[in-house]
């Protein structure tokens, strides 16, 4: 860990997917960022980003590369993390419609449904009203997951309404009999403590404001 006040090095997990775009976004904002493929690459890293890609593939490669255990240990120790799409799935507490052997870190108390908006022809762009941002964020959703359950510690920063043509959208319309919170619009950007997750891909647009939100969270976490 860096000394209090120094900007921490952001490690972008680069086993597969759009890691290079995250590195570029962090560097545009003046942060130090490196790609992480092995446990040794975590040396000196004070925060991590898990990019978009295929979550089942990343889950598999986290195992074979030996990264899963050291990452899990650091996340449990309070290291800040930013997960987009597949990265959100990996940070979640529960994965719905995943593979039975799919692993996740449980760093944020949410249940995430994979490919919830549908296959690629249903992938979309939408302007999102986002808490903490003055102007809407142009969000790109690709075979995206959505958040189906949030724990009490989780703050929702943006939501989106599934297209009405999707049959399984009704799954999120009801209030849960279990006392858990369900949303008519589904959460797509959530924060809990030092963890930030999005269903969409801020790394695919030139707008770095969501990355900026994460860097501010990291700064606050280091200062504390």
């Amino acid at each position: 860990m860096t000394a209090s006040g120094d900007p921490p090095l952001v490690g972008v997990v680069a086993l597969q997917g759009a890691a290079a775009e995250h590195v570029a976004a962090f560097r545009r904002l003046g942060a130090l960022a490196v790609e992480v493929r092995t446990p040794g690459d975590l040396d000196g890293v004070g925060a991590v980003a898990l990019p978009g890609g295929e979550s089942t593939t990343m889950s598999h490669l986290l195992g074979t590369s030996g990264l899963f255990e050291p990452l899990a240990e650091r996340l449990a120790g309070g290291m800040p993390a930013f997960g987009t799409c597949a990265g959100m799935i990996l940070l979640a507490a529960e994965v719905l419609d995943g593979r039975p052997d799919q692993r996740c870190f449980g760093a944020i108390d949410i249940s995430v449904r994979r490919n919830a908006f549908g296959r690629q022809v249903a992938s979309f762009e939408a302007d999102l009203d986002t808490e903490g941002l003055d102007e809407p964020f142009e969000a790109v959703f690709i075979r995206a997951p959505w958040v189906e359950r949030i724990g009490s510690s989780v703050k929702v920063l943006a939501t989106v309404s599934p297209r009405s043509t999707l049959q399984d959208a009704s799954a999120t319309l009801a209030e849960g009999p279990d006392g858990l919170k369900y949303h008519r619009s589904v959460p797509v950007l959530c924060r809990s403590g030092p963890i930030l997750v999005s269903s969409f891909h801020p790394e695919l647009t030139a707008d770095d404001r969501i990355h900026q939100i994460f860097l501010e969270m990291v700064g606050a976490s280091v200062a504390r």
Binding site: G17, E54, V140
Partner: protein, 299 residues
């Protein structure tokens, strides 16, 4: 402006189409002909599967007209896995592409592996919501496909041979010309566009960015983990493996090994580790002995 109205969603945009290709980067896309093979591919860490009736090695052996796969077979594979499912249409056969789009496949490969349906025209890919990948042997071909709406380019290689030599030729041709274009002055770019028979705007974009406007993947002849490492180091951003996995002696471990080699392509010790004890690779063919060169298909 709002998040509460489903009508504000835009589908089929360039960002959304190219975005899925971006998400597949660093991964391995595997040809599969049955739901069982698709499961083996997903178990091994494939980022996507290509659903088809016969792998290229068998298409080459059997001869005859090769067409789009049976929709029932594609649906069987869609039901078996959670990762993206691609399928092939014949060059120029927009009728097949329309059928594949209606099946909700995640990507369409307008492929020279199937028998071409049109000897002059490729599919107008802008007319579709589903994204397309197309093969290319050189930069001009790649840019013509992109101008028609392709959102991912792959080397053609020589499919079904287990021989990497043609894919290497195509990758070097594409990346070599990109490097030269970045050194060209503004006046020379007009000549590059003429030589490449490609739109000037795309040539100017490459001069500025130093890369194709869409992801560049490698296909055609990949049979071993070291093949994957080679083509990734030559500038491919992901690999397609066709016959190389399910025509080998022990497909599961080989598939897993190629996935790992693609992620850790810069680390020879990992490639060595995963290459141990994989059994025989697919037998493979020499270029001189081929009756049909699939890479010559496409215009």
């Amino acid at each position: 402006m709002n998040s509460g109205d489903g009508a504000s969603h835009l589908v089929g945009t360039v960002r959304v189409k190219r975005g899925l290709a971006d998400m597949l980067r660093g991964g391995v896309i595997m040809d599969v002909v049955t739901p069982e093979q698709a499961k083996i591919a997903e178990d091994a860490g494939a980022v996507a599967v290509m659903a088809l009736e016969r792998v290229p090695a068998d298409i080459r052996r059997d001869g005859g007209v090769a067409r789009m796969s049976d929709p029932a077979m594609i649906e069987g594979i869609q039901a078996a896995v959670t990762i993206p499912v691609m399928a092939k249409a014949r060059i120029g056969h927009f009728g097949e592409a329309q059928v594949l789009e209606s099946l909700d496949v995640d990507y369409i490969d307008e492929s020279e592996v199937l028998t071409p349906a049109d000897e002059a025209h490729h599919i107008d890919k802008w007319a579709f919501t589903v994204p397309f990948v197309c093969g290319a042997t050189n930069l001009g071909e790649a840019l013509r496909r992109i101008s028609e709406g392709a959102c991912m380019i792959r080397s053609k290689g020589e499919a079904g041979t287990g021989n990497i030599v043609e894919a290497v030729r195509h990758l070097r041709a594409i990346t070599g010309d990109i490097r030269k274009i970045t050194q060209a002055d503004a006046a020379e770019l007009f000549d590059w566009a003429k030589q490449l028979q490609s739109p000037l705007g795309l040539v100017q974009e490459i001069a500025e960015t130093g890369r194709l406007p869409v992801p560049l993947f490698c296909a055609g002849g990949i049979a071993t983990p070291a093949d994957a490492s080679l083509v990734m180091q030559l500038g491919a951003e992901a690999v397609f493996v066709g016959s190389g996995i399910f025509k080998s002696e022990d497909p599961g471990p080989r598939a897993e090994a190629i996935v790992e080699a693609t992620t850790h392509y810069r680390d020879p010790s990992v490639v060595a580790k995963v290459s141990r004890g994989l059994g025989s690779a697919m037998p493979g063919l020499e270029m001189e002995g081929l009756e049909t060169k699939l890479a010559d298909r496409g215009w």
